[in-house]
Symmetry: C2
């Protein structure tokens, strides 16, 4: 995982050379190259390899999903959204560069993600790259991230049941992780059956990611998280710990890991090892 | 032009059916279906036909460029940007739906644009659709719209010369009009030479569009424009009338029309008629 993440960091650096207008490009690079676990790109690379593709074929989609993720963090942190001042232990993008530039840096990163897939997929059949573009777009728009966020915002301060909470997290978090894995499998030349199996694995991983995130928000300090802790409670947001209790949320997480790992049974055990490991890594992360 | 615009309006309506979460989709549709001249989609359709393509092939890119344009209007109007309350004679998106939803509606429309090209281009070779995705992405990001806006914002209140003003407008306005025409020509199967000729035509049209916009901002009332007039002057923004005077700006517009129309000489005169007409339509618009 570490070697894949390092390769992604290098590719991300090359994907966005510093140039005029520096005010914008600096702001984009500030958030894009801020580190983080690179879970989504690693998922894309591992899914590509799992279906027998060459890791190099998935580097553009790996970078693209991280660009989309970075856009979502920048826009989420804006004053009109979560109004967060700290991210990964540093000032958030709008605190460092101003709100207008942060807004535009997010827009530009979102556009760059699609451009990067379209231009970078040399050696990948165009139809596969195009399918990755469609998958990624759907993960961000009115059937993905934006939908999850709107429902999430609407749910603040009002009682929300498990179905709505699941909708929020499937869309806000799981869809992009799902798209990351699916894009990797698509450019890697996976069969329809392989792609759909990987989609089910990744959707569980995505939900797992959010369940763990919710748990960490109530059990960790801001210092450990590198971002403001306890924000969900303060905003009276619906979370898994709130609906299931911390222990109940942890039990649900265990169930999701088991389900995700079971999906991998149809693949060669050795080849599936990185994705099995990734599921457990997400389940066991401490911050 | 009117019949092309009507076809685009119908295709846009179908591109985004109302569905859950209505709060988001309503907001997207509110701005996307608000009318307007549909200059960018018409440009895409006309460029496709000019190179001998079937108009139907360009409908997805025509919708996509309008989605991108709509995103840019929604985000431009936000309080952290131009803070505008009226657009096309109606409350702006964030006034009608709230700032968070407007932000997310813009993000979702941007993602939808790329998804729509990727999914909608059945019958178009995948390599052409992919090239349209790349062209569109580049028009929005750090070499396009976002770059123009950042430089524009940075120039407020400080003296700006013609080269910077030209940079701003080429990126803020012309790049997307250019991409509209180029995407149409690309999916229509134009030769490289045809595509580049159409690019030069559209870049001039794009600059023309902005020069006229600048002129109208100082010569029209808010009622005529359907948006707040005189904003540029008030914000002490660099504009063509400010640097060249209103007459100088009009002379520059005439030069751009002549240059754009001259590019069309290499095409059959009858087939080029719609784009010649479009150049003059933009030059002569009164609001």
């Amino acid at each position: 995982m570490a070697s894949k993440a390092a390769a992604v960091n290098e590719a991300l650096d090359l994907s966005l050379p510093l140039r005029y207008p520096e005010g914008l490009v600096d702001s984009m690079r500030y958030s894009l190259l801020a580190g983080g676990k690179r879970v989504r790109p690693v998922l894309a690379l591992a899914a590509c390899e799992l279906v027998g593709g060459d890791e190099a074929a998935a580097v553009p989609v790996a970078c693209a999903v991280e660009m989309v993720h970075t856009m979502s963090l920048i826009h989420d942190d804006l004053p009109c959204m979560d109004d967060d001042g700290t991210r990964r232990g540093r000032p958030t993008n709008h605190v460092a560069f101003g709100v207008s530039t942060a807004l535009l840096a997010g827009d530009a990163l979102l556009a760059l993600a699609f451009e990067h897939v379209a231009r970078g997929c040399a050696g990948v059949p165009a139809a596969r790259a195009l399918r990755a573009v469609a998958e990624l777009g759907s993960a961000v728009g009115a059937d993905g991230l934006a939908a999850g966020l709107v429902v999430d915002l609407a749910s603040e301060g009002s009682p929300v049941g498990l179905p709505t909470l699941e909708y929020i997290h499937v869309h806000k978090t799981a869809r992009l992780l799902e798209a990351s894995a699916v894009c990797g499998a698509v450019v890697g030349g996976g069969t329809e059956e392989e792609i759909e199996t990987i989609r089910r694995y990744a959707r569980r991983i995505g939900l797992l990611f959010q369940v763990i995130d919710d748990v960490l928000d109530v059990t960790c300090s801001s210092e450990q998280l590198g971002k403001t802790a306890g924000k969900d409670l303060e905003a009276d947001k619906a979370t898994y710990p709130k609906l299931l209790g911390v222990d109940g949320a942890r039990a649900y997480a265990a169930e999701l890991v088991a389900g995700a790992v079971a999906e991998l049974d149809r693949f060669d055990a050795d080849r599936a090892a990185p994705l099995r490991h990734l599921a457990r890594f997400i389940a066991n992360r401490q911050y």
